[in-house]
């Protein structure tokens, strides 16, 4: 048992933290917010150069890591600055599925991904699927895809999409889901891209007899989707912990400097005790992320139990941290201009990807309680 970082990971963390701190200035955040993609190409190139995208892949896949603790480390640092770069979408979901299922030709894409020259998105969720991983209505017939995909994060900027479709079975069956590689400029594909609360962009995607290439075995896509979502859940959970740390630091600093009724408001015991509770819950969240990172490659039942436990706790703590921090800041915490707003919104939106507290509580009950 050892909770220290290896030397390599420590170096990656130090370098990445320094890089992000230098890059993610208020100016950059403002610039990103009004950009077309909600991200910065320069930062992306920098991340690729540092090997950060590669850290999400194993050596076999052409990367330098790929373990749960690599993903967690990278994502937590991204969260710490409120970064909006699509590491999850291009790296973990898109790249991860290609690495897991792709044939030799398809695997070749990984080099571009790791080099930062190819953007991906997973077009899986649909307007009425909510968080259900197996609910797919998009159809596949005569080599063509038809259907609608909802809130596809990075869907507007991606040049390559992984699209899920139902090739057999009932609407919510786990069997019968197939994955396809689709070029973003393929015929019949329409995208409406829009900004997201908390940063980044997503797209509504319509497919109308759009050609795609099968990725993996037909009808057998679910297991790989579930594994990719487990990894993505780890990433977003670790990102949330980074965001929590940043929000907490901002709040504690504010409590020390802001004076009211003649003293720093951090001297008021009611606020002290509430901040202590916030801190305790952040430590809980951090431990939950460690649990998931350490069990990412365990058997499916163990992995999914930790996915459910971790994401439930993250969603709960995210709300607590965001709400308490805004409340303790008072009016200034309500303004767009102040740094807190972006971080708090990004933290709140974590509960709206890869299943919310309700969804994962249900999963946990089924896996570990009853």
């Amino acid at each position: 048992m050892n909770f220290d970082l290896t030397e390599e990971r420590q170096m990656l963390q130090d370098g990445l933290r320094r890089f992000l701190r230098d890059q993610y200035t208020p100016d950059l955040l403002a610039q990103i917010e009004t950009s077309d993609t909600g991200t910065s190409p320069e930062v992306w190139a920098g991340l690729a150069n540092m090997g950060v995208i590669g850290a999400l892949f194993t050596e076999d896949q052409g990367g330098f890591g790929g373990a749960g603790f690599d993903i967690a480390l990278v994502a937590e640092e991204m969260g710490r600055v409120g970064a909006t770069d699509p590491l999850i979408d291009t790296g973990i979901l898109g790249g991860g599925l290609i690495a897991a299922l792709g044939d030799e030709g398809q695997q070749a894409m990984l080099d571009d991904i790791i080099a930062g020259t190819r953007q991906l998105a997973l077009a899986h969720g649909e307007p009425s699927s909510r968080y259900d991983l197996s609910r797919v209505e998009t159809t596949w017939a005569d080599g063509k895809l038809t259907g609608r995909k909802a809130v596809v994060v990075n869907g507007g900027a991606a040049d390559t999409l992984i699209v899920s479709a139902r090739t057999s079975g009932d609407v919510a069956d786990t069997d019968g889901i197939s994955l396809f590689i689709v070029a973003a400029d393929a015929p019949g594909l329409m995208r409406r891209s829009y900004p997201l609360t908390g940063g980044g962009h997503a797209a509504e995607i319509t497919l109308d007899n759009t050609p795609g290439t099968l990725l993996g075995t037909a009808g057998q896509g679910y297991a790989a989707l579930a594994a990719a979502h487990a990894r993505a859940t780890l990433a977003i959970s670790a990102e949330a912990v980074g965001l929590m740390d940043a929000v907490r630091t901002l709040t504690t600093d504010y409590l020390k400097t802001r004076k009211q009724f003649g003293q720093p408001i951090g001297k008021f015991q009611a606020l002290q005790h509430r901040m202590a509770d916030v801190l305790i819950e952040i430590e809980q969240a951090r431990s939950a992320v460690i649990n998931l990172a350490g069990h990412l490659d365990a058997d499916t039942q163990t992995r999914d139990t930790h996915v459910a436990a971790t994401k439930t706790l993250i969603g709960q703590v995210a709300r607590l941290v965001a709400e308490e921090s805004i409340q303790m800041h008072g009016g200034i915490g309500m303004t767009q201009e102040y740094a807190l707003g972006h971080l708090a919104k990004r933290l709140l939106m974590v509960d709206h990807r890869f299943g919310d507290t309700l969804y994962h509580m249900d999963k946990f009950i089924a896996l570990a309680v009853a």
Binding site: A150, E204, A270, E323, G331, T335, H352, R353
Partner: protein
């Protein structure tokens, strides 16, 4: 003990309901239901309709053009208004300034300003808060120095709601630095078109700009615009705050929000079934509904006591805290209900200028959740309310 309304009250409710059904324009109630922002013209249209009926000034006495309603009637009126998704009455002139003028204004001020409020000739805004003051309202630093028949005003106000629409502002200004901080404050009416006034919008975390900073740079204000006596403004300010506190629980808003939440939870599917049938989500709705049922009765107890002439005390602090908790929980649940579609931020859709992403009902909840974090911050933060309760009721 009797939870029933009197026959007269029941008849009144029926009148209000009929009036709303006949006179509330659908283009306004649709906007309110879906959380679409109202324009200045929308507000003015609705005020004019109410004024034509004589129902605009629910808390004004009849001889000033008000309704003369008691607190129970006002409650019934507000209740029906919210249920019908009517726009709320903009409070600055009617609920805030009006009562102060009636109590402390000169005859000239009353006869000039009060009719203009009813007729919508002026849009008032409130100049109380200043940067860095937070809940400590008495720390007024905006200065008003006497110069002949004018005051020269310098300083800054902030969190000025809908100040971008206003042509008039009522302000707390410092006219003396002598004595206690509360003693040198005056209550001044200022024309927003005066030279030296700048209004700068504050964008909030929901992307909206409903509040503003107002800067005063050597602004000349006629002494005739002083309300009451110089240096006695703190008394008037406190009087205003007491009046502002009616409907502090926001029962009507909460009820309307709960209905919208249930409507969405019936439409959204989770695992192929309506979300409202998800046991854990249903339990969270049930919890807030149970809390609201109890709070509505606490609210009626306070209203009923007020109708019998008792002044509301620290009970309003309790209603403020609980009312905030209930409304914010409804906001949080509604945001949760819309699932992944809570993420898109398409501000144009909320202004009605663009197609929405996802269902129409999914456009507003995230912004409303974010915006309503203010409920526990402004009007005396919930922390300040808890301290008041501890002191005034628990005597700690």
């Amino acid at each position: 003990m009797d939870l029933n309304y009197t026959d007269a009250q029941i008849a009144f409710r029926s009148d209000v309901r009929d009036f709303l059904s006949d006179n509330l324009p659908a283009h306004l109630s649709d906007k309110v239901r879906d959380g679409v922002a109202l324009t200045k013209a929308d507000h003015e249209e609705w005020h004019a309709i109410l004024n034509a009926q004589g129902w605009l000034a629910g808390n004004w006495p009849v001889d000033h053009g008000g309704t003369g309603w008691d607190s129970v009637q006002r409650h019934i009126f507000e209740d029906e208004m919210t249920k019908a998704n009517a726009p709320r009455i903009v409070p600055f002139g009617l609920a805030m300034l009006g009562p102060v003028l009636m109590a402390f204004g000169s005859d000239e001020q009353k006869s000039y300003w009060l009719p203009r409020i009813l007729n919508g000739d002026d849009w008032w805004c409130q100049g109380y808060s200043e940067p860095g003051a937070g809940s400590d309202l008495a720390s007024v630093r905006t200065m008003a120095e006497r110069d002949g028949d004018d005051y020269i005003v310098n300083g800054q106000k902030t969190w000025t709601t809908l100040g971008q629409y206003a042509n008039m502002i009522f302000c707390l200004v410092r006219t003396s630095k002598e004595g206690k901080r509360q003693e040198g404050i005056s209550f001044l009416l200022i024309d927003m078109n005066s030279p030296g006034i700048t209004v700068r919008p504050i964008v909030l975390i929901d992307g909206g700009a409903e509040v503003n900073e107002v800067f005063f740079d050597n602004v000349r204000v006629p002494v005739a615009n002083l309300v009451g006596e110089e240096n006695k403004g703190w008394t008037y300010a406190k009087y205003l705050l007491t009046h502002e506190r009616t409907n502090i629980a926001g029962v009507g808003f909460a009820s309307a929000g709960l209905e919208q939440l249930k409507r969405i939870a019936r439409a959204e599917l989770s695992g192929g079934k309506p979300l409202i049938q998800h046991p854990l989500f249903a339990a969270r709705i049930a919890q807030v509904q149970i809390d609201l049922m109890a709070m509505a009765t606490t609210n009626l107890r306070v209203i009923s006591a007020a109708a019998a002439g008792q002044a509301p005390g620290a009970e309003s602090s309790m209603l403020k805290v609980k009312g905030t908790q209930v409304r914010q929980e409804i906001n949080a649940l509604t945001m949760q209900a819309i699932g992944p579609y809570a993420m898109p931020f398409v501000s144009e859709a909320l202004d009605g200028d663009n197609d929405p992403v996802g269902p129409a009902y999914a456009q507003a909840p995230t912004g409303q959740y974010l915006n309503n974090r203010k409920l526990s911050i402004y009007g005396g933060s919930n922390e300040v309310q808890r301290s008041i309760i501890a002191k005034a009721i628990l005597e700690l």
